[in-house]
């Protein structure tokens, strides 16, 4: 019976204990929440500096390409055009190699139109089947599994629609 009806003093003591415990838990909770918040801020900072460094590496790799392009232009000023073409071709090859090392892949555009990787700029009647890619106006690229830029293409409307009113 005594258990069921605690005295006032006992109740007060329990209340005091509960309040002390509550304050302790609240303080713990706040500290965990603040730790998380600070962790989040640090992660964001780390991320930012990581991004900056990632740029740095790529830009550094591109510097020789810039040098070569300059050389090609200098050479063109002195020699005939054929040299320029050779030079630019070499620079292009090098730039392509640098970017390929970074994971850049050209999007294939010699089949059927796929809006996930292609962007249609024009569609025109042709003998090719409906939806076939007729021409690539601008190449598309993928970096890893992400489409950086879709390939801009002209696609076929097929034959049956090839009778626009005159």
């Amino acid at each position: 019976m005594a258990d069921k009806h605690p005295t006032k003093a006992e109740l007060e003591q329990r209340l005091a204990e509960a309040e002390a415990q509550r304050d302790e838990y609240l303080d713990d909770l706040r500290r965990v929440a603040a730790d998380f918040e600070n962790y989040r801020k640090r992660a964001a900072r780390d991320q930012e500096s990581l991004v900056a460094r990632a740029h740095e590496r790529l830009v550094k790799e591109l510097l020789p390409v810039l040098d070569d392009l300059e050389r090609a232009l200098e050479a063109a000023a002195e020699h005939e055009e054929a040299k320029l073409e050779d030079g630019v071709r070499l620079v292009e090859r090098e730039l392509r190699a640098v970017l390929a090392r970074e994971g850049l892949v050209e999007i294939e555009a010699d089949g059927h139109f796929d809006p996930h990787v292609h962007e249609a700029l024009l569609s025109q009647p042709s003998e090719a089947e409906d939806g076939a890619i007729l021409q690539v106006l601008q190449k598309g690229y993928r970096l890893g599994d992400r489409v950086l830029r879709p390939a801009r293409v002209v696609i076929s409307q097929g034959m049956e629609e090839a009778e626009p009113a005159g």
Partner: protein
């Protein structure tokens, strides 16, 4: 617990955000974009596309590509004749007179199309969060009527989302800026999006936002501005080269991209070069476009478009019964509001600096996510954590301010670091607690000072004194210093350290910036001095220990250089101190060399390891810069 997402279902673009750890985060879509085009397409082979892929195929399939569906939400067929003129797909009257989209032989109610967009956003959010999402808060324009709101709710239902609440876009933007926490005031939201312009006046009372008035232009947005720039480029190119690029789809595409880039660049620079090599070709060969666009020219091109925002803004003020001075806050929404001339126009109209900081493309979704968090009880007062407004630290040797806790650290937090003495047998250290952003203690604010005494006699650098900062949730700072050797401890309790007003904090940050150069020089001087002092100390010590291993000439040289360094210690020229220190260091290398030679000679003579430790003593010649030294006391005595 499942997350509730916030969705900005826009006319041209949509955006979704969620609260993570109490902070709103925009969820990137599967394609990596932070916003998703509000476009749905039905391809000839029966596929359904949503977002960027749908947009990409729109030219080849215009009748089956539905964009701007928001313009038809909850509207009667009889109301939308104006809208129908600008869209390429077919709109018909439904059985109850509602506007419906006809694709092929199928009819879709606008909520069904919107649901397809919502479904994609939901799927992308689920992929990001790694759990299923069912609850959402969706935003609508403030002027949406009941039918339009119901239609938006239906769209959510069809998409399998339980729409907890539909909130107004300007309200969401206000929430994103935390304006609900302030007292009663009025807010003007200026929303210039991709294809629509909305201006709303809100009044906040008792924590509830009330829309006082709305106005706008349903056919004014970023697209118009881009077109103005492209038209100019086309005209310039035609004038210079005689070729009309408007007929060339690929060239036009490149022009739009260049216009977009130029617009963004001109937000921060006064002029930009638009460079499009091989933009087209004629029989004479390739043609390049090379134009300069100045900010002034851009403003001229956009002048008429900008003027079109004036009427609606004035109308909204008038309808709210307010003058410009009746507005307390101005919020900008929509990517176009990044443009400086748009911001200036708003400032000119209202006479107030608009709020900035939240990405204007994402601010509505962010606000929706915050509202979602409030509804879910994730945003509770109990865990509204404060931050330290300014950095906290102590003064170390040479008046340098050493930070222990960086500004904007969320509290409660705790940080400790070990320090040591600067002099041999230093009996006490003073802990000078400061707050501020300057590198030098003198420019920062003193919060308290205390002494830790009773450090047993020891060579400098040996005692380890742990200084700990502990800030509780109320901003009360406890700083303690403990001699790890003896266990002696002293501490101070500082109240009201973070009870600074915003203006005071800004003032201190500004002052730190104003003194930054001076502080940097003083810091450099302090470093040079500290290094020189420890160099003198260690050189004197080894000279004493190994005097007999050296010839008189070397001793004389080291001693004279020692004197030279001592002579410039009080100099205020860091370069001079460093030069003399370097000279001394060079001379003392001979000392080290001599000692090693002697030890080696002894070793070969006795062919036994001497192991007396003399060889190691030289290594400490320099570099105790990492010892942060506290010695106000010792220097004064």
């Amino acid at each position: 617990m499942a997350k509730t997402i916030g969705i900005d279902l826009g006319t041209t673009n949509s955006c979704v955000a969620v609260l993570e750890g109490g902070e709103p985060t925009v969820i990137p879509n599967a394609e990596g974009g932070r916003t998703t085009p509000s476009v749905v397409a039905f391809t000839k082979d029966g596929q359904r596309l949503v977002g960027a892929p749908a947009k990409r195929q729109s030219v080849t399939n215009p009748q089956n590509t539905v964009s701007s569906i928001k313009r038809f939400m909850g509207r009667k067929f009889s109301e939308v004749s104006e809208e129908m003129k600008i869209i390429p797909y077919e709109v018909v009257a439904g059985p109850n007179g509602d506007a419906r989209v006809k694709v092929g032989d199928k009819e879709y109610a606008p909520p069904e199309i919107s649901a397809m967009i919502l479904q994609k956003l939901k799927a992308d959010a689920e992929a990001y969060l790694g759990e299923s999402v069912t609850d959402a808060v969706v935003t609508v324009p403030a002027y949406f009527n009941n039918a339009q709101r119901e239609a938006t709710k239906d769209a959510g239902k069809i998409a399998g989302l339980n729409v907890l609440r539909i909130i107004n876009e300007p309200t969401a933007a206000s929430l994103a800026y935390g304006l609900d926490k302030e007292h009663d005031h009025t807010i003007l939201v200026f929303d210039l999006g991709g294809g629509t312009f909305d201006v709303s006046v809100l009044e906040l009372g008792e924590g509830v936002f009330e829309v006082k008035s709305t106005s706008g232009d349903n056919h004014l947005g970023g697209d118009n501005f881009d077109k103005a720039i492209v038209d100019w480029m086309v005209a310039e190119f035609k004038r210079e080269q005689g070729i009309d690029l408007a007929q060339d789809r690929m060239a036009l595409q490149r022009l739009y991209e260049a216009a977009e880039k130029a617009k963004i660049e001109l937000s921060s620079t006064m002029s930009t070069q638009i460079n499009l090599p091989f933009v087209t070709a004629t029989q004479e060969g390739p043609k390049h476009l090379d134009l300069q666009l100045t900010r002034a020219k851009l403003e001229e091109l956009c002048h008429d478009l900008l003027e079109r925002t004036v009427g609606p803004t004035k109308q909204a003020l008038k309808d709210a019964g307010l003058g410009p001075d009746g507005i307390d806050h101005v919020i900008l929404v929509g990517g176009m509001t990044r443009m400086p001339s748009v911001q200036e126009k708003v400032k000119e109209l209202i006479g107030k600096e608009p709020h900035k900081g939240v990405n204007p493309d994402e601010v509505v979704a962010v606000g929706a996510a915050i509202q979602a968090g409030v509804l879910k009880g994730e945003v509770k007062d109990i865990l509204l954590l404060d931050v330290t407004p300014l950095s906290l630290g102590i003064e170390t040797k040479g008046g340098v301010f050493t930070r222990l806790i960086e500004r904007n650290t969320t509290i409660p937090t705790k940080k400790s670091e070990s320090f040591t003495t600067a002099e041999d047998n230093q009996p006490s250290v003073e802990i000078h607690v400061l707050q501020g952003e300057s590198e030098m203690a003198t420019f920062n604010k003193t919060l308290g000072k205390f002494q830790l005494v009773g450090i047993p006699p020891a060579p400098r650098g040996l005692p380890q004194i742990e200084v700990a900062f502990d800030i509780d949730a109320n901003g009360i700072i406890n700083v303690s210093a403990k001699d790890l050797g003896t266990g002696n401890q002293q501490q101070v309790r500082i109240e009201g350290g973070s009870g600074l007003k915003q203006e005071e904090v800004e003032q201190m940050v500004r002052e730190a910036e104003a003194h930054a150069e001076e502080a940097r020089k003083l810091h450099e001087l302090a470093d040079a001095r500290n290094q020189a002092e420890s160099l003198v100390y260690s050189t004197e010590k080894s000279l004493k220990d190994h005097r007999d291993a050296l010839d008189a000439e070397t001793i004389a040289q080291i001693e004279s250089r020692l004197e030279e360094v001592k002579g410039v210690l009080d100099s205020s020229d860091a370069g001079e101190i460093r030069a003399k220190s370097d000279a001394l260091m060079e001379a003392s290398h001979k000392l080290a060399q001599a000692v090693y030679e002697k030890v080696q000679a002894q070793q070969t003579a006795s062919s036994a390891p001497s192991g007396d430790g003399t060889a190691g003593a030289e290594e400490e010649v320099v570099e105790d810069a990492e010892y942060e030294v506290i010695d106000e006391e010792a220097k004064q005595s």
